[in-house]
Subunit: 493 residues, 2 copies
């Protein structure tokens, strides 16, 4: 098996070119690496300091002057200051790329005094020698389960909008759960190559209560055999275009309609792939991929529901690379759980950055930091986020992030704390406008930003008259910004 | 969909020849038909009377004679008597054959005054017109679930050795549960095209508590797509020769060994088909079929176990065409349940004739009979039984029974009752020798029967000196009998 993996990654070497400025941003001064190697995907993290200019604005007080405004007096003064901030980079890619990526890192690292790389995930053992040889770092292993759960706890408590409820055809497809210190107990369904089910009762009390071999690796593996499509994201793309009813045997295919006395509707899947043994019939790749996705999502949904009932847990979080915000997957799981819990007793949440959990804990452990000591925020400009999972919106961006997925977190200068004047911070509900929920407000603000864009670009070029590349950079900015606004219009989250 | 089924069965018409004397025994005088049409298989039942000669032996009492034995006096006298007994025939075949079979029945029926055919299963609706047109009988539908549960109850109470525990590598692979009047409560996992899970609390209290779309139809359908093998039994045969470890990602493939702290052994499947996304690698049909069988059996095993725990049921019966005594399937399900219930709290049984449940109830209903009024026994000579599920033992027989499977039940002349002299029949344990358990006794008796065979054949020919075909029939008998003895040596049950 090891040989076949090596062979395949060698053959990959020749065909891929890494887009270094996008994927390995700030690699030159990267310090402290951590790596999480799963059955199918590798996640890599590094810490880097980022130097950037900050504009400080000082305004002048003209009220003392008699006779009103004077023509030549400036209203405010801008001074530029260099600032250094800490940034964490998380990069996810298929295991086949691991060697190429390690090579790239080795070649582009300018200086690092790091001697150790923290590693977790099953592959930490398998790829130990490769990593030590390439990066000249000692591999230090961390327990995967502890990393997973502690990382999940951190993310649930610190990252706003990490967990959300998915509701297709609703006004807003995503309903976010705000961060809350009171997160326990919960059930975590981690869908990697396989499925692991954890009951988490407190920061230090958790148990793997179940699992299943039918997971993301099954979708990938069976999907590759059925469609000859080897890329995970391409398979998801196929699935999003397919009609599972051509392949699956529905209740109505057997009963001619619903089976009322058992409460089974006609459209319910009676047998996944139940039609595909029909002789002399061809099935489309799209239909098979969709049927496979349904089969796996439904199965996981039912298991999640049964374990939640068995352990009397009402909050269920789904994470892992199989989820990662893919609408069809989330819809099927939601549907499945709603079907199996008629009493609506389970609340389901999906986790956005969940495939990085393992790494996040591992990373903080590496830094010898208390993860709760600082405040961290997602750097949206550097995170591919949900974009990587909506195949239809961004075909160009897909081509890249289908292979590489990124999450960046900036350490905030000051820790976020509650306003000291609040009488009871835990019961305080801030009066904010949620643009992902309020369509009218969203449209208004997106319009404002678009309208202002030309002016901003003009001002940016004018502000750096001595730099000949300013115009080109400003154009790049305009394009990127315009693109983000478009994305936000379609995916408000 | 209906069109494609019709087309496929038409194309079948030309290629199959039915072996009428084997499959449709005693069809000439068949009365009262019942049919159960599932998503993949059709089961047909008919009632027929069988006329056969019974030898009555009268022995003479010579003790009164003085002077010992006299040369010419016979010790006993044999007289032949014609008897008529009732027999139920159950025949199972793939849905594709339904039209051919109906045609055959219509052509070979000599006389029947039956006007109605009882029908159950999803297809009862779909094929209603076809049946009415072909057989000129009115289709009268029965609720499938009621048929299933009542049939199961009947079989559990009446057929000895219907339910058994499967233990691979044990001295005796099968351990039978004897019939017992106290069968409730139990969980029934019926694996047809899909999976239905029933909680049965009494003769009249039962509920469908769950189900899954990953069932026999999934094995068949996905198996057909992966291996281009369209026959269910051929797929099972492929699976029995495969190595799932070539296709599945095991815990040791990810972790390099076991994951001790989670209690996961290295050989456990982490991700079904997790290896098959590997680029540029071919996978054998056998390996893929085995992996598929494992995936499905494990999933069903886990669901069964979770539902048993949720409903606090300790007896779990598995039935349906996916089981039907296939060793690899039973082994995986047993393994899976043992894995998931560490406390050994669930007892698992497999049901032999389970694919006929539905029909059995339906049939008794048709006869307006109380199923408990008579005693019935399985006619082993006419039932293909477990033989149809052991691909390696009987390749010749397979070729037939892979397509057609039979169960025959004879109504016993007198109802079996407890010996009236017993003080407490329910606590009485008969002192019998179980030849399926006692290997030495089994070998002794099989040897005796084999030794006696030549003599029996000779006597049979001699007993009918006027019939020229007697010798040929006796040879047929010798062959068949020899074959049965061989089977019993390898499959004692």
């Amino acid at each position: 098996q090891a040989t076949s993996v090596d062979r395949s990654s060698h053959s990959m070497d020749k065909s891929i070119t890494l887009p270094p400025d996008e994927i390995f941003r700030n690699l030159e001064n990267a310090k402290r690496f951590a790596i999480d190697i799963g059955g199918s995907l590798t996640k890599l993290a590094y810490y880097s300091t980022v130097q950037h200019k900050v504009a400080k604005v000082r305004s002048f007080d003209h009220t003392a002057k008699v006779g009103g405004e004077t023509e030549g007096d400036p209203l405010y003064e801008i001074s530029m200051q260099e600032e250094v901030s800490a940034r964490l980079h998380f990069i996810k890619f298929e295991n086949a790329y691991i060697e190429t990526c390690l090579d790239f890192i080795k070649d582009h690292l300018v200086n690092t005094d790091t001697k150790v790389i923290k590693a977790t995930g099953g592959g930490a053992h398998k790829f130990k020698d490769l990593i030590e040889k390439k990066l000249k770092l000692r591999v230090d292993k961390e327990d995967e389960m502890t990393c997973l759960i502690k990382g999940c706890n951190f993310v649930l408590r610190n990252i706003t909008h990490e967990a959300f409820v998915y509701a297709k055809h609703a006004d807003s497809e995503f309903r976010f759960q705000n961060t809350h210190p009171d997160i326990f107990p919960y059930l975590l369904i981690n869908i990697g190559s396989g499925v692991s089910i954890f009951k988490v009762e407190s920061e230090d009390t958790f148990e793997r209560v179940g699992g299943s071999s039918i997971g993301g690796g099954t979708f990938w593996g069976l999907g590759a055999l059925l469609t000859k499509t080897k890329r995970f994201d391409e398979l998801l793309q196929l699935a999003s275009k397919g009609q599972h009813t051509n392949v699956d045997m529905l209740v109505k295919d057997i009963y001619g309609g619903s089976y009322g006395s058992l409460g089974l509707t006609g459209d319910l899947i009676a047998s996944s792939f139940g039609k595909s043994a029909t002789p002399d019939k061809e099935f489309s790749k799209e239909d098979m991929a969709k049927s496979l996705l349904h089969m796996i999502s439904n199965d996981i949904g039912q298991l999640a529901c049964l374990y939640a009932r068995l352990h009397n847990l009402t909050r269920v979080y789904f994470g892992g690379f199989f989820i990662r915000g893919h609408p069809v997957t989330m819809h099927t799981i939601t549907y499945s759980i709603n079907f199996f819990t008629k009493a609506n007793f389970v609340r389901i949440f999906f986790l956005m950055g969940s495939s990085f959990f393992c790494l996040i804990h591992c990373y903080f452990f590496l830094l010898y930091l208390d993860p709760n000591q600082y405040s961290w925020g997602e750097n949206y400009a550097g995170s591919s986020g949900l974009m990587s999972t909506s195949p239809d919106l961004n075909p160009m961006q897909r081509a890249r992030s289908g292979t590489f997925d990124m999450l960046e977190m900036d350490r905030l200068e000051r820790q976020l704390v509650n306003l000291p004047l609040l009488q009871d911070p835990s019961s305080y509900i801030p009066d904010t406008v949620d643009l992902s929920e309020d369509a009218l407000a969203r449209e208004y603000w997106l319009y404002c930003f678009e309208e202002a864009l030309d002016g901003v670009v003009k001002r940016a070029v004018a502000s750096q008259p001595d730099l000949p590349e300013a115009a080109e950079r400003a154009e790049k900015f305009r394009h990127k910004y315009q693109h983000k606004l478009q994305t936000l219009r379609h995916q408000p989250l």
